[in-house]
Symmetry: C2
Subunit: 279 residues, 2 copies
Amino acid sequence: MLISYGIKRMNQPVDKLFIIKIGGNIMDDEEKLPSFLKDFVRIKEKKILVHGGGKIATQIGEKLGIKANYVNGRRITDEKTIDLVTMVYGGLTNKKMVAKLQALNCNAIGVTGADANLIPAKKRPVKDIDYGFVGDIDKEKLASGNVRDHWQLLLNNGLVPVVASLTHDGKGQILNTNADTIASVLAVLLSEDYYVRLVYCFEKKGVLQNVNDEKSVMHLINKTIYKNLLEDHSVAEGILPKLENAFAAIDQGVKEVIIGHADDLVQNLTAEVRGTLIK
Amino acid sequence: MLISYGIKRMNQPVDKLFIIKIGGNIMDDEEKLPSFLKDFVRIKEKKILVHGGGKIATQIGEKLGIKANYVNGRRITDEKTIDLVTMVYGGLTNKKMVAKLQALNCNAIGVTGADANLIPAKKRPVKDIDYGFVGDIDKEKLASGNVRDHWQLLLNNGLVPVVASLTHDGKGQILNTNADTIASVLAVLLSEDYYVRLVYCFEKKGVLQNVNDEKSVMHLINKTIYKNLLEDHSVAEGILPKLENAFAAIDQGVKEVIIGHADDLVQNLTAEVRGTLIK
């Protein structure tokens, strides 16, 4: 029998929830993805998988004659591109992953932010650049009881949301939203109801002291260390947005953030973290 | 607060449930789709929308160099084609429709049969023809408590499932399944828990006595009339599989089946049926 717990907001959150974000480096790798999914299903606690696109979207886009447009390193999402990513992230990638998780006895349900209005967003306002159909999450609407209730409904009834990095504007338009951001915003939202560990799987073992040395993983970064890193300019630039996202999440109630390699997922979910623990 | 009723199998079903199937003729029509969706959201009762693909899948397939293969009028679903329909039905068509329904304050959730294991299926066995990745619904697994619980979980908590005509084999493979069949099998399944009216929207006003005369709609077909129609060969061949599906559903507990035009949806949901009522 399925039970929706309803709302336990007045109590201390007790149930653990893992929110795990993967990127193209796992999804594009036919060997890594199955082994990652096997590790993922070993998590007995509540869990959410957030994924972006991978190279397949670009490949299909090229065949369809849709060219990737970048301005200042940011991809512009025009009308053809939003259709492309809706199709590939929301359909191909998402549903294939769901079917594979089902085969491993994990009751996955693939969603975008439009489904059950799980991630309300707004089209990014045009300032210097028009990003096109890119969505910034509408945190006010997200925090509304109704949206949280539906996340709880899924999580508290044994379902495992697999979230494609798409949101919607509530006016009928699907929007493209950064998967890292979705993962961290969901982690913040759900921290009111669960003890959340947010795990970013990426291509390095963790935050490296020396970007050329995979053994130089910094196993713990707290605020003091982070401040020093910023002052010293001593970490790779690429990792800074991830660290910024991580501390923003911590500041808003997320218990732990981990940045680590997908191969180390199992360890990174225990106390024996091999990646970088941020808290 | 969200409540999952759990199971009321011992009682008489009371809640009405409309299961509405639409095809390419609505989905491909930029004028008809919005007006159909407006009519759909006017349904206050529980509801499910089942959709197939439409021309867009063929168009995108052509651009991607995927040719449609037919054997005896049946489309063969090879590996490229199942990826194509997963992408288009499960992603593009489904999510765009969900976003549009959300804009109309309808809390739609787009699913395939893989999501939450909502429609377990088996790859069709190869006899004379290898249909490829085509799924026949596994009625035994479908009837299992767990699957029904998840349908109820969605329906009893204000969510409106929008179902793309895809299923899965439980071994990691997405399968292509006829949307009419999905609608009727779901209608049968859910008849144990709800008072189900199954509505097929198609391009004619209903079952026509004279296929060239839209005014010759047969407003009621019962078993006796059906038997006579079969003996007389007096209805268009194209409609026979729909009638067969309809009576199979009625025989298995579905209260009413309606075959009618999408434009008449609102009337066809009331007692003033403009299409053909089968009971």
